[in-house]
């Protein structure tokens, strides 16, 4: 007994050491990527690098936010099947403070950038905007003056602080309650989580909606869409579910989820993933359809810009590859229960979620020459920002993962989740 005990401890220790080594590598890569991106902001085409950084930030943040929403939904609905997959999601919410830190660097850069170098045009009164087809400054833009009570630097800064306060605050409460339940097994933690989820789902819904309006929609502040926040939410949920599949299958591969994460869990995630694929299409189409139908130049220009040049193909790729392919793929039962197939479609969805963010963010800025605005393309600085932020997120996840039990072993619903059956 005792020998087998030490043997197990030793393999646990080596596993932990391997995990720490991996986390350290991720941190190094992440730090290097972020430093390079900062260099790019200073020496490169700074608005383009800034937009690329925003794409990377929103990509990784959307995964964390989606998982945070899922955690709260699981608590609110007292879900039984999901207890096992909730734990990796809890680790994933540790990325919020780091995302916030990087975001504020970008925000300060944009606040203090010289004319036309920041990414949010309205932040500097001397920045160039197009008003009724004519080049003008923000100062001369009557539309900006009507929106300036909301869109001004101080209020934007405070709101961003508030959003991250809500994300980090509620996620930390939910996470630490769940971790502490591992120790004392007190069922009261579940009640704590449920109460905070009830508040968090409303606060989080509002925060994520306004965050997407502020950070993404206000890039083109003439344009408005009331469904924009829901678009961001639906994309975040899809990305989170896809990332959950990848993380859980990796944990099966590493060993801690072997025999724990089963076909029935994969099937449930696949079904929710199918539902959110349809939901995303419903929202994305509704936005397009209402603007197409109303046909008002104030808002149609946003889509007209996105039919120009290679953005046309990006739009079609979103329609066919971000909706039709995953939709038809996930309709079939076998595709939802085979790990290889779910891994494939999850990577696919994440890739096109990234493209969706490009589509919404990149054409916002007027390029200096030739094109009216940035064409679709992946720049070197996009990659450094994506890998940099990703590296930090992976490091934060692994660090939290190594410090806790792989599953919430004393959650009241853990047996139900372990024995979950289709």
């Amino acid at each position: 007994m005792s020998t087998s005990g030490t043997k197990e401890n030793r393999s646990d220790d080596t596993r932990k050491a391997a995990g720490e080594g991996f986390a350290f590598k991720a941190l190094l890569i992440g730090g290097a990527g972020l430093l390079l991106t900062l260099l790019g902001l200073l020496v490169g085409d700074s608005p383009r690098v800034g937009l690329g950084t925003l794409i990377g930030l929103t990509f990784w943040l959307s995964i964390g936010l989606g998982m945070w929403f899922l955690i709260m939904l699981f608590h609110l609905f007292d879900a039984g099947w999901s207890t096992v997959v909730r734990r990796p999601m809890e680790h994933a919410t540790t990325i919020f403070p780091w995302i916030g830190a990087v975001f504020f660097v970008l925000l300060f850069f944009s606040l203090f950038a010289s004319v036309d170098d920041g990414i949010w045009k309205w932040m500097n009164e001397d920045n160039t905007v197009i008003v009724a087809g004519e080049t003008a400054t923000v100062e001369e833009d009557v539309l900006y003056h009507h929106k300036s009570a909301y869109l001004n630097n101080a209020f934007f800064f405070l709101r961003t602080l508030l959003y991250f306060g809500i994300f980090i605050g509620v996620a930390t409460i939910l996470r630490s309650a769940s971790f502490r339940q591992d120790g004392d097994g007190d069922g009261a933690w579940t009640t704590v989580c449920r109460k905070w989820s009830a508040a968090g789902i409303i606060l989080g819904g509002l925060a994520a909606t306004f965050a997407s309006l502020d950070w993404i929609m206000s890039l083109e502040f003439h344009w408005f869409s009331t469904i924009f926040g829901v678009w961001f939410f639906s994309g975040a949920m899809r990305a989170a579910l896809a990332a959950t599949v990848i993380v859980c299958l990796l944990l099966v591969y590493v060993g801690s989820f072997r025999g724990v994460f089963k076909q029935s869990h994969l099937y449930e995630i696949g079904r929710v993933s199918l539902a959110f694929t349809i939901f995303w299409a419903y929202i994305a189409f509704s936005q397009y359809f209402l603007i197409w139908n109303a046909n008002i130049p104030e808002v149609t220009y946003w889509y007209v810009n996105r039919e120009y040049g290679n953005w046309w193909w990006v739009g079609l790729a979103l329609l066919f590859c971000h909706f039709f392919v995953p939709f038809l793929f996930l309709l079939f039962y076998q595709n939802k229960i085979r790990p290889g197939r779910m891994l494939f479609i999850s990577i696919w969805i994440l890739a096109f979620h990234l493209l969706d963010l490009y589509f919404n963010i990149l054409p916002a800025k007027h390029a200096e020459s030739g094109w009216p605005y940035y064409s679709f393309g992946v720049s070197f600085w996009d990659v450094t920002a994506f890998v940099g932020i990703g590296g930090i997120c992976v490091w934060a996840f692994v660090k939290s993962y190594l410090s806790q039990k792989p599953i919430p072993i004393r959650d009241p619903r853990i047996l139900e989740s372990l024995n979950h059956h289709e």
């Binding site: 397009y288 359809f289 139908n293 046909n295 309709l331 039962y333």
Partner: protein, 178 residues
């Protein structure tokens, strides 16, 4: 024994485990026309009986496809072909504005397809089943589990089937009147 045609054999089991293992053996014997009656869903019974996945989704897909393309065709026919009207300077036909209606029709006919497929595949409505004549079968909604092997099964032969049902733990093996 009377000469009239029998529906098949019925055997009683006391626990879900017993009926599941018995079902596995019936499956391995190669029987095709047989069924298990339980008071509640028993997880894993589909595999134990060797059942494939339901074919209802196929009906759903066909219903949905008819709804979607039927909706598009209907709107094209009405607005662009039979009685063209310009509305708000929009094209006579565009999948854009036809989409919401086609989408709703997709959902509606997919639901119809599901219901119809479920009825057809379950051969519903079925107002009579020979098992209803069996006195003990009322307990199948309480605390007993049953296996029925139908006489239409190509491998069915009263004597061997009775012996087999007894061997795999079946009690009160009796014949069912049709």
């Amino acid at each position: 024994m009377s000469q009239e045609k029998k529906y098949g054999l019925i055997a009683e089991f006391e626990t879900p485990g017993a009926v599941m293992h018995a079902a596995e053996k019936v499956r391995d014997e190669g029987f095709k026309h047989w069924d298990v009656i339980t008071p509640f869903p028993v997880h894993g019974m589909d595999q134990a009986m060797g059942l494939n996945r339901s074919r209802v989704p196929l009906f759903t897909l066909v219903g949905g496809a008819i709804g979607f393309f039927g909706g598009m065709l209907m709107i094209w026919y009405m607005n662009a072909y039979d009685y063209p009207i310009v509305v708000g300077g929009k094209p006579m036909f565009s999948p854009m504005y036809a989409f919401p209606v086609s989408y709703e029709l997709t959902i509606l006919l997919a639901a119809f397809g599901t219901i119809i497929g479920m009825f057809l595949l379950n051969r519903l409505p079925m107002h009579y089943h020979p098992a209803m004549k069996h006195e003990a079968v009322a307990r199948a909604s309480d605390d007993r589990f049953y296996i029925i092997i139908e006489s239409t099964d190509p491998r069915f032969e009263v004597k061997t089937a009775t012996t087999m049902l007894k061997e795999i733990g079946g009690q009160n093996v009796t014949q069912l009147e049709d």
